[in-house]
């Protein structure tokens, strides 16, 4: 009997939770704020679904109810992607070590 592909996705999901668990525990507490902003940015990979939704109309009807929701989702996710990665970058650039010569 064939295994339902859902089981494979579920396996990926469960294993990723474990990966996430161990990776996040190793994050240094001083970087918890950047951790939140970067997780924000990466969870906006939901834009992938938004793009599929936006292009669902084909070339004849670019705008239909379904694709308009897709386009809105694209804009929201894009705010998060650009905003999230850039603000993380900005924060991380501020973390500096003590100057040795002082």
């Amino acid at each position: 009997m064939e295994i339902d592909p859902l089981i494979f996705r579920l396996s990926i999901f469960i294993l990723s939770i474990f990966v996430g668990y161990y990776v996040v525990w190793s994050v240094t507490p001083s970087l918890h704020t950047p951790l939140m902003s970067v997780t924000n940015a990466i969870s906006s990979v939901i834009i992938v679904g938004a793009i599929i939704a936006g292009l669902s109309g084909g070339s004849e009807s670019v705008f239909n109810t379904s694709s308009i929701f897709g386009f809105l989702a694209i804009a929201l996710a894009a705010i998060n992607i650009f905003g999230g990665f850039l603000v993380t970058q900005r924060m991380l650039a501020m973390y500096k070590k003590k100057k040795k010569d002082k």
Binding site: S16, V27, S30, H32, A73, G83
Partner: protein, 465 residues
């Protein structure tokens, strides 16, 4: 047009890059590279999506326009936002992830053919379950984050809003969400889908209003987690590995942060979520502990104490963020260091309004991160330090957490500030902290209260050094 197998492999690669992005945050040196991995993963995911659809017509241009539109707003915010406003920003961003998840779910519900999920009114059962869970969690994330944002921004009062029968109403709504998802899956009725979204928005709103300002670190972490689970739900619907991996990562990340924050307050997750903390306790404690003598001083006294110290530990809290005193503080520390005084910073896990809030503010003020220590690392050093300079913190230094089992904060890990030879407390008034309890530290023999705005006081001390 690339094959489905090839694009699945690319999605897997971008998922792995996201893991590396989080892995990079284990130390500040590797973190910048980690962020680049994250950006790369995102570029791969978006490019592969375009290639797999292979539709480069008008729709493609519209998509690009919306990406550029959203992207420029995001970039603008990212460069303009002051570091003190990070909690609001993160809450705002969470709400966008939630709403995007809802929109994608709506789109998939209206036009399932585009996602290979069946036809309207006849959507595959598994997909419909995943979709409605994703949509419900997304809606809760959205409205919850909006409330968190309004509270953090000060548009809405930070004090808990409670009313009679609150828990009963919330429980009823949560149960009806489950019932609705079940009915939706059996009937495929679009009315039920809309109704599900509406009550999910409502419950997100109701869940966050009873939670007070200082519990925001837990709320933000929790909403972070929700946004991840919403993304994962949509990932299952779209059968997309990158989304499933990311959703799981973000979900567990937020859950761990909530756990760390709850532990920092010695409160259970449910205790925080049920809310209303600090609203009930303050009346009686104010009556019993009235009018005890305190020693208060001015900038001159503080400067004198610090000049004669050989080591100083600084304890920043939310008050420092409110007064924007981090730059003034660093200038004061620079002057101290010139006089060969050893200075370090002690950060309590729940100082501020989000995890790591104080660290970012200090980093912004050019404080080297190797002078900043977490509670466990530095707590033993207080006994050997000459001066503790508490700026904008209160409950996290309260020794009552160690001594009085009756106290609402009993058992909460606190910084052992009272072990220092002398304690300087910058505060605007004697008012109790968020927990609504008096701080014994104010009345100790070796405590000097400095009643002033944190920024102004710090600047005055620097002048007197």
């Amino acid at each position: 047009m690339i094959s489905a197998n090839l694009s699945a492999i690319f999605y897997l690669i971008s998922g792995v890059l996201f893991i590396l992005a989080l892995r990079g945050l284990s130390s500040p040196e590797t973190s910048r590279q980690g962020n680049l991995f994250g950006i790369l993963g995102m570029i791969i995911a978006i490019t592969v999506t375009f290639l797999s659809i292979g539709n480069f017509s008008t729709g493609f241009i519209v998509v690009l326009i919306f990406i550029l539109f959203g992207g420029s707003i995001g970039a603008f915010i990212a460069y303009r936002i002051p570091m003190t406003a990070m909690p609001e920003l993160v809450a705002g961003f969470h709400s966008l992830v939630g709403l995007a998840a809802v929109f994608v779910a709506i789109s998939a519900f209206l036009n399932p053919e585009a996602f290979n999920l069946g036809t309207p009114g006849n959507i595959k059962l598994g997909s419909l379950i995943e979709m409605s869970i994703g949509a419900a969690v997304g809606a809760i994330t959205f409205s919850g984050s909006v409330i968190a944002f309004l509270k953090l921004q000060g548009i809405m009062s930070g004090s808990p809003i409670t009313f009679k029968g609150q828990h009963f109403i919330n429980a009823t709504i949560l149960i009806s969400i489950i019932v609705l998802i079940y009915l939706l899956c059996t009937t495929q009725s679009s009315n039920l889908f809309w109704f599900l979204l509406i009550i999910s928005f409502l419950i997100g709103f109701l869940l966050i209003i009873p939670i007070g300002g200082a519990d925001m670190p837990v709320v933000i972490s929790m909403l972070n987690s929700y946004s991840g689970w919403a993304a994962a739900g949509i990932g299952f619907t779209l059968e997309n590995t990158a989304l499933i991996i990311t959703g799981a990562l973000v979900g567990s990340s937020g859950a761990i942060l909530s756990y760390i924050m709850c532990k920092g307050m010695n409160r259970s997750f449910f205790n925080v979520i049920l809310g209303g903390f600090g609203a009930t306790e303050d009346n009686n404690s104010n009556l019993t502990k009235e009018q005890r003598p305190v020693k208060s001083g001015n900038a001159d006294d503080a400067a004198f104490l610090m000049k004669n110290a050989s080591s100083v530990i600084i304890v920043p809290g939310y008050g420092m963020a409110v007064a924007q005193a981090q730059h003034a503080l660093r200038e004061m520390v620079d002057t101290l260091k010139k006089n060969d005084i050893k200075v370090s910073y002690a950060i309590h896990p729940v100082a501020g309004r989000m995890p790591g809030h104080m660290n970012v503010l200090l980093a912004e003020a050019n404080v080297p991160y190797d002078e900043v220590f977490e509670l466990e690392e530095i707590n033993n050093d207080f006994a050997n330090a000459d001066v503790a300079f508490v700026i904008g913190a209160n409950d996290v230094t309260n020794p009552v957490a160690k001594t009085d089992p009756q106290s609402p904060i009993y058992g909460m890990p606190v910084l052992d500030v009272e072990k220092c030879k002398s304690v300087l407390f910058v505060k605007r008034s004697l008012s109790p902290g968020y927990a609504g309890i008096d701080n014994d530290l104010f009345y100790k023999e070796n405590t000097l209260m400095l009643f002033a705005d944190a920024k102004k006081m710090t600047e005055d001390i620097t002048k007197n050094l």
